[in-house]
C-alpha cells in the first residue's frame, strides 16, 4: 500500500479584510498507509484542504506532502498520475459531453492509439456496469450514475491512490449504497472525506478534522463516537471519552 505522508503541513490563505492569513490547516503531521482512510469533520474544518494536498491541487504554505516518496509540489505531474481525485459534484468533474468521451479523455495521455483507447474505455465502463450509459449525455444520467461515471474516468488510468471528497453527499440512499459497494471492491488505497458516518465506520482508520487540526486519529468506531459526541454536546473530540 502506498504511503501518503504529511510533514508539519500548514496551509494559510490571505484575507481581504484582515492582515492575518486564515489558517486552513495547521502543522499537520500524518502517515497514511492503511487501505481505507476516512476523514470526517464539520463543514469548513479543513477536510477538503487535507485531501486536495494529496493530489497537489492545494500546495502547502509550509511543510511537505509526499505520495510514495514523491513530493506533491516538486513532482506534481507524477503524483497526479498516481493519485486519482473524485469531487463531490460529478458535473464539475466530467468535462466531456458523454461518459465514454470523458473516460477516453482520461486515457488520451497514456494510450495514443484511438482504437486501443476505445477498447480500454469500454473495459473501464463495463467494470462498473456503465457501458449501456456510455453514449448518453451526462445530463441525462442520475446522480449515482454520474458519480460512478466520474469514478470510472478516474480509475481508467489505474491510479495507486484514490482520493474522494465527500462523494456521497449528493446521492440518495440507493446510489450511496451502490457507491459504497463499488468502493469496497477497489484495490486502490482510498482516502475519503465523508459526512456519512456509516461509511466512515467501514474504514480502517478515521481522522476527525476540526479547525485545521487533526482532533482525533484512530479506529473508526472511536473516531465516529468522538465526533458524534462533539457534534451533539459541543465537546472537544480529542478530550472526549470514547468507548
Amino acid at each position: 500500500m502506498p504511503a501518503v505522508t504529511f510533514d508539519q503541513v500548514t496551509v494559510a490563505v490571505e484575507q481581504d479584510d484582515s492582515p492575518h492569513p486564515k489558517v486552513l490547516l495547521d502543522a499537520v503531521t500524518l502517515r497514511l498507509d492503511q487501505s481505507r482512510v476516512g476523514v470526517i469533520g464539520a463543514n469548513g474544518s479543513g477536510k477538503s484542504t487535507l485531501l486536495r494536498l494529496v493530489n497537489g491541487l492545494v500546495q502547502p504554505t509550509s511543510g511537505t506532502v509526499a505520495v510514495d516518496g514523491d513530493d506533491t509540489v516538486r513532482a506534481v505531474r507524477h503524483v497526479r498520475r498516481n493519485v486519482g481525485f473524485v469531487f463531490t459534484d460529478p458535473l464539475s468533474q466530467l468535462v466531456m459531453p458523454t461518459g465514454r468521451e470523458d473516460v477516453e479523455l482520461s486515457l488520451r495521455r497514456s494510450v495514443k492509439d484511438a482504437a486501443g483507447r476505445r477498447r480500454q474505455a469500454e473495459a473501464a465502463l463495463a467494470r462498473f456496469g456503465l457501458l449501456k450509459l456510455a453514449d448518453q449525455s451526462i445530463y441525462e444520467l442520475s446522480g449515482g450514475e454520474r458519480q460512478l461515471m466520474a469514478l470510472a474516468a478516474v480509475l481508467a488510468v489505474d491510479p495507486k491512490v484514490l482520493v474522494l471528497d465527500e462523494p456521497s453527499t449528493l446521492l440518495d440512499l440507493r446510489n450511496r449504497e451502490l457507491l459504497r459497494r463499488t468502493l469496497a471492491g477497489l484495490d486502490q488505497q482510498i482516502i475519503m472525506s465523508t459526512h456519512d458516518l456509516d461509511l466512515a465506520l467501514e474504514m480502517d482508520r478515521v481522522l476527525v478534522i476540526e479547525e485545521g487540526r487533526v482532533a482525533f486519529d484512530g479506529a473508526p468506531a472511536e473516531a465516529v463516537a468522538a465526533y458524534r459526541s462533539w457534534c451533539l454536546h459541543g465537546l472537544d473530540p480529542a478530550a472526549t471519552d470514547t468507548p
Partner: protein, 207 residues
C-alpha cells in the same frame, strides 16, 4: 443543474454514409456552409441548402427531435434577428440571414452528430500538429474544443435555472438578477473545470 440547451447535436452512433465519411470532408462541409452564408444572396437558395442539410441530418439517423433540439435554443434570437433585418433591409434579406444561420447550425450539428468527440479531437490534434514547432501543444487545442462542447449546454442550463429562480422571486424583469448569477456561476464553473482537469493531469504539457 439542467443541461438541456444544446446548440450542437451530440454524437449518435450509426453506420450511415455520413458516419463513414472522412472527418476532413465533414469539416470542409461546415467551413463551406459558413463561407456560403456570405455568398448566397437569394433566400430561396438558402432554404434549399437548409432543406438538403436537414435531409442529410435525418438520413444520418440522428432524428428530427435532435435536429429540433439543436435549433430550438436559437429560435428566439433568430426571430428577433429576422424581424429586425426584415424591417431594415426587407423581408427577403431577413429570411436569407436567418436561413443562412440555420444552415451553419445544422451543418455543425451534422458534424458533431456523426463524429465521435474523440475522433473530432484527434482531427484537431492533427490540424494543430504544424504549430508544435512554435511551442503549441496540439492536445491542448483538442481539450479546448472538447471543453467548449461540454460548456455550452452547462451555461445554457445555468441560464434556465437562474431564470426560474428569478421568476420564483418575481425578478424576471430585472436583467441584473438574470445576468449576474449566470456570470458568477460560469466563472465558478470555469474554475471547477480547471481544477478537475488539473486533478486528472489533463492540460499539462507533454512529457
Amino acid at each position: 443543474m439542467r443541461g438541456h440547451g444544446f446548440l450542437l447535436a451530440n454524437y449518435v452512433p450509426g453506420t450511415s454514409f455520413l458516419h463513414r465519411a472522412p472527418l476532413a470532408v465533414k469539416f470542409l462541409l461546415v467551413v463551406a456552409s459558413g463561407l456560403a452564408s456570405f455568398v448566397i444572396v437569394d433566400w430561396r437558395l438558402s432554404a434549399a441548402v437548409l432543406a438538403v442539410f436537414c435531409g442529410l441530418f435525418l438520413a444520418a439517423g440522428a432524428g428530427a427531435k435532435r435536429l429540433w433540439g439543436a435549433v430550438r435554443p436559437l429560435v428566439p434570437v433568430l426571430l428577433v434577428v429576422g424581424l429586425f433585418q426584415g424591417w431594415q433591409l426587407g423581408a427577403p434579406t431577413g429570411a436569407r440571414i436567418v436561413l443562412n444561420i440555420l444552415v451553419c447550425i445544422v451543418a455543425a450539428s451534422l458534424l458533431t452528430a456523426t463524429t465521435p468527440v474523440q475522433q473530432l479531437l484527434d482531427g484537431v490534434v492533427r490540424l494543430a500538429r504544424p504549430f508544435e514547432r512554435f511551442g503549441a501543444d496540439p492536445e491542448r487545442f483538442a481539450l479546448t474544443i472538447g471543453i467548449m462542447l461540454r460548456s455550452i449546454p452547462y451555461i445554457a442550463g445555468t441560464f434556465a435555472d437562474v431564470r426560474d429562480s428569478a421568476r420564483a422571486r418575481g425578478l424576471e424583469r430585472n436583467p441584473r438578477a438574470l445576468v449576474l448569477p449566470v456570470f458568477i456561476t460560469s466563472v465558478a464553473y470555469a474554475r471547477q473545470t480547471g481544477e478537475a482537469l488539473a486533478a486528472r493531469g489533463l492540460g499539462d504539457a507533454e512529457d
